[in-house]
C-alpha cells in the first residue's frame, strides 16, 4: 500500500484582536501590540472609587497633561511582560558574572580604606534614592492612564528595586555579608548633613499629586543628574582613588540607564510635541524640579567630588537632553 503524505495549510480565521485590527489594520500584530493597546478598562464601571469620587477608576484627568490618545506613548523597546523579563534576565546574568568575579578574586580586600569609606558614605545610601524612584514610578503606574505608559512605569519601578538591591549587594561585599555597611550607610542617609537636602527632596517628590509631574521630576530631572554624578563622575573619582574595580559592580546601572533613557526620551518627545500646552507644562515642571534638585545635590556633590564644576557638568547634560526632547529651545 502506498502512503501519500499531504500537507494542508490552514489559514488563520483572523490575524489579531478586533481592537488591534481597528488601530493597525488587518495584519498579523506583534505581541507588544496585543499586550498593550486598549488593555485598560474604560467602560462599564458600576461605581466611582469611594476614596476619590471625582475620578473614574482609570481616569485621564489625574494629570494636567492632555493627550488625544494615551496609547501614543508606546515603548520603543516594546516591552511587555515576556520581553521585559527575558531582557532583564540576560542583563542580570551579565551582572552576576561581574559580581562573582569580583568576589572570587577578592577584589574588595584590595580596595583602599578611603575608597571603602567613600562608598559607604555616598554610593550605598543611594539605595534609598532608588527606593524613592521605585515608589514614584509605582505611583505613576497606579494612576496613569493607558497600559502603554503604565506598564512601562511598572517595569521602571521594578528596575529601581533591582538597582537598590545591587547597591545593597555592594555593601554586603564590602562588609563580608554582615550588613554593617548597610547600617552605616543608613546612618549616613539619616544623619550626614550632606545627604539631608536630598532626603528631603525624595520625601517631597512622593507627596506630589499629579503623576506625570512625579514622573518628570524623578525619571527625567533627578535621574539625569544623579546617574551622571554617581555613575560617571563618582566612578572617575573612585578610579583616581585606586578603586577602579568598583566599576565592575556599577556596570549594571550604567547599562540600565542607557536602556531606560531610550524609552523616556521617546515618551516625553511624544508628549511635548502633542501640543504647546503640554510643552509649557513640562517646561514648568522641569524648571521647578531642576532648581530644587540642583539645590539638594549641591552639599552632597561638594562633599563627594573634588571637581567644583561637577554639578554644572551634570546640569549641562540635562540641558542638552531637554533640548533634544524638545521641552526647551
Amino acid at each position: 500500500m502506498a502512503l501519500e503524505i499531504k500537507t494542508a495549510t490552514l489559514q488563520p480565521i483572523r490575524n489579531t484582536f478586533a481592537n488591534i485590527e481597528r488601530r493597525f489594520g488587518d495584519k498579523p500584530a506583534s505581541r507588544y501590540q496585543e499586550a498593550t493597546y486598549d488593555l485598560q478598562a474604560e467602560t462599564n464601571y458600576h461605581y466611582r472609587p469611594l476614596w476619590q469620587p471625582q475620578h473614574e477608576l482609570n481616569d485621564k484627568s489625574r494629570t494636567q497633561i492632555v493627550m488625544a490618545d494615551w496609547y501614543d506613548l508606546k515603548d520603543p523597546r516594546q516591552f511587555y511582560y515576556g520581553t521585559y523579563v527575558q531582557q532583564r534576565a540576560r542583563h542580570q546574568e551579565a551582572a552576576e558574572t561581574n559580581y562573582s568575579f569580583f568576589e572570587k578574586r577578592g577584589l574588595a580586600e584590595h580596595l583602599p580604606e578611603a575608597v571603602r569609606a567613600h562608598l559607604i558614605s555616598y554610593l550605598i545610601p543611594l539605595r534609598h534614592v532608588e527606593h524613592t524612584a521605585n515608589l514614584n514610578n509605582m505611583y505613576g503606574c497606579s494612576f496613569s492612564y493607558g497600559a502603554a505608559i503604565s506598564q512601562a512605569l511598572l517595569y521602571n519601578g521594578i528596575d529601581r528595586l533591582g538597582n537598590a538591591q545591587y547597591l545593597s549587594k555592594i555593601g554586603l561585599i564590602l562588609d563580608g555579608n554582615t550588613g554593617d555597611s548597610l547600617a552605616a550607610a543608613k546612618q549616613e542617609w539619616m544623619q550626614n548633613p550632606a545627604w539631608q537636602a536630598m532626603r528631603a527632596l525624595c520625601e517631597q517628590m512622593t507627596t506630589v499629586e499629579d503623576w506625570f509631574e512625579v514622573f518628570v521630576a524623578q525619571d527625567l530631572v533627578v535621574d539625569t543628574l544623579v546617574f551622571n554624578l554617581f555613575y560617571e563622575q563618582l566612578d572617575q573619582k573612585l578610579a583616581s582613588m585606586g578603586g577602579r574595580d568598583v566599576a565592575l559592580l556599577t556596570e549594571f546601572m550604567q547599562v540600565w540607564t542607557k536602556d531606560s533613557s531610550r524609552w523616556l526620551d521617546s515618551v516625553l518627545k511624544t508628549v511635548a510635541s502633542e501640543s504647546e500646552d503640554n510643552r509649557v507644562l513640562l517646561a514648568g515642571w522641569v524648571k521647578h524640579w531642576r532648581e530644587k534638585t540642583l539645590h539638594a545635590l549641591h552639599p552632597l556633590v561638594t562633599a563627594m567630588l573634588d571637581d567644583s564644576e561637577a554639578l554644572s557638568i551634570a546640569d549641562r547634560l540635562l540641558e542638552e537632553r531637554l533640548k533634544k526632547i524638545g521641552i526647551i529651545q
Binding site: 495549510t9 506583534s30 520603543p76 516594546q78 536602556d259 531610550r262
Partner: protein, 91 residues
C-alpha cells in the same frame, strides 16, 4: 532575473525584521506560512536588511548576525557586513 528570497521563523524578533525589510524593500512580497515568513523579491536590487532600520523597529541595538538566529533558508549571493545583509544574484 530570478528571484532572491529568505525565510525566517515566525517569532517575536522576526516580526520586526520583516517590518524593516518591507520598509527597505517596497517591491518585496511577504508570504506568511505556518511558523515561517518567506520574503521574496524579483527586483534587480535584490533584498537588503539594514541594521539601522531593524534597530528602529525592534527598539534596541541589533547585531546583523542575530538575523541568523531566526533564519531558515536563503536564496541568492550574500553580501554581509556590520550594517547590512543583502541578497542578490551575481550574474
Amino acid at each position: 532575473m530570478s528571484k532572491v528570497y529568505l525565510a525566517l521563523q515566525d517569532n517575536d524578533d522576526s516580526r520586526y525584521i520583516v517590518d524593516a525589510i518591507v520598509d527597505d524593500n517596497p517591491e518585496a512580497s511577504v508570504i506568511r506560512q505556518p511558523a515561517m515568513i518567506r520574503i521574496e523579491s524579483e527586483s534587480e536590487n535584490g533584498l537588503v536588511v539594514r541594521r539601522t532600520t531593524v534597530e528602529e523597529k525592534i527598539g534596541r541595538d541589533w547585531d546583523v548576525q542575530e538575523l541568523h538566529l531566526s533564519l531558515i533558508t536563503i536564496g541568492g549571493n550574500v553580501d554581509e557586513d556590520e550594517d547590512q545583509f543583502s541578497l542578490s544574484w551575481n550574474v
